[in-house]
């Protein structure tokens, strides 16, 4: 099962690279989905290794979190596109943080 955990880690890193490199807000949200999916895969691998149901329950909770996150995130994307007429994450830096 080391291979499953390795696959999960690689998928998570790919999602992280996507979040850091891409500037399109929709692509950033999609990379976040990949990251959440990779953590779910890690839980499923662990639950399958020990034959326990807890892994799948944690996956269910992650799924719930992903659904809520995507709803609110896409609402924010709609608001940003409505106000700035762009999907570039760098153009929304009015706080100058």
């Amino acid at each position: 099962m080391e291979f499953g955990l390795l696959l999960s880690a690689v998928l998570f890193v790919l999602g992280l690279i996507g979040v850091m490199v891409r500037r399109n807000l929709i692509m950033i949200l999609m990379s976040l989905e990949v990251m959440l999916n990779a953590t779910g895969l890690a839980f499923i691998v662990a639950g399958s290794r020990w034959g326990q149901a807890d892994g799948q329950i944690m996956f269910l909770l992650i799924l719930t979190l992903a659904a809520a996150e995507v709803g609110v995130g896409l609402g924010l994307v709609l608001q940003i596109f409505h106000r700035f007429h762009t999907l570039d994450a760098d153009s929304v830096n009015e706080m100058q943080g």
Binding site: M1, F3, G4, L7, V10, L11, L14, G15, I17, G18, V21, R22, N24, I26, M27, L29, M30, S31, E33, V34, N37, G40, L41, I44, V45, G47, S48, R49, W50, G51, Q52, A53, D54, G55, Q56, I57, F59, L60, L61, L63, T64, L65, A66, A67, A68, E69, V70, G71, V72, L74, G75, L76, V77, L78, Q79, F81, H82, L87
Partner: protein, 172 residues
């Protein structure tokens, strides 16, 4: 045999994810993201987590991706959209994800023909999951429902002014 299927599915998942984060067009990336989620669903099936595999396909590759498609289509309007859709329907765009999805389909067919027990881990069936979910994890289920309610209210609040503007002839 199971390990070969597992490695093949992992290769499809990694390839699809790499292609996803390198696509310039959001819809092309979405195609590869759906492929990546489907292959992770097949991996869940191979690991013996059948319930999670079904949920992965229905909720991730179904509902959440429909949300993405909806928003991408909402943000494009006019002649530009028509040109884009013409470009999206070129065979070069969708033939590669379709071929990889065909690989996943062949894998599932092989599993079914071999008797449906190609797991590489322990099978945890949905009965065990249900018993644990409504036993020791009852509080977590309630918290998840609160989270979904908060997400619903937040998405409605964020989307309401835009829907009001884009509705034809409506000013209420």
């Amino acid at each position: 045999m199971e390990l070969i299927l597992f490695y093949l599915t992992s290769a499809v998942a990694l390839f699809a994810t790499v292609m996803m984060i390198t696509r310039l067009n959001a819809v092309h990336g979405l195609l590869y993201l759906i492929l990546s989620l489907l292959s992770v669903g097949v991996i869940f099936f191979l690991l013996g987590a059948h319930f999670a595999a079904v949920l992965e396909v229905i909720i991730y590759a179904g509902a959440i991706m429909v949300l993405f498609v909806f928003v991408i289509m909402m943000l494009n309007q006019g002649q530009k959209t028509i040109d884009q859709e013409n470009a999206w329907l070129q065979p070069g765009v969708w033939i590669l994800p379709s071929l990889m999805a065909l690989v996943l389909l062949v894998e599932m067919a092989v599993i079914v023909v071999l008797g449906g027990n190609a797991q590489t881990g322990h099978i945890v069936n949905s009965k065990q999951v249900g018993i644990a979910l409504y036993g020791p994890y009852l509080l977590a289920v309630e918290l998840a429902s609160m989270l979904l309610l908060a997400g619903l209210v937040g998405a409605y609040h964020l989307g309401k002014p835009i829907l009001k503007i884009t509705r034809p002839g409506g000013n209420s």
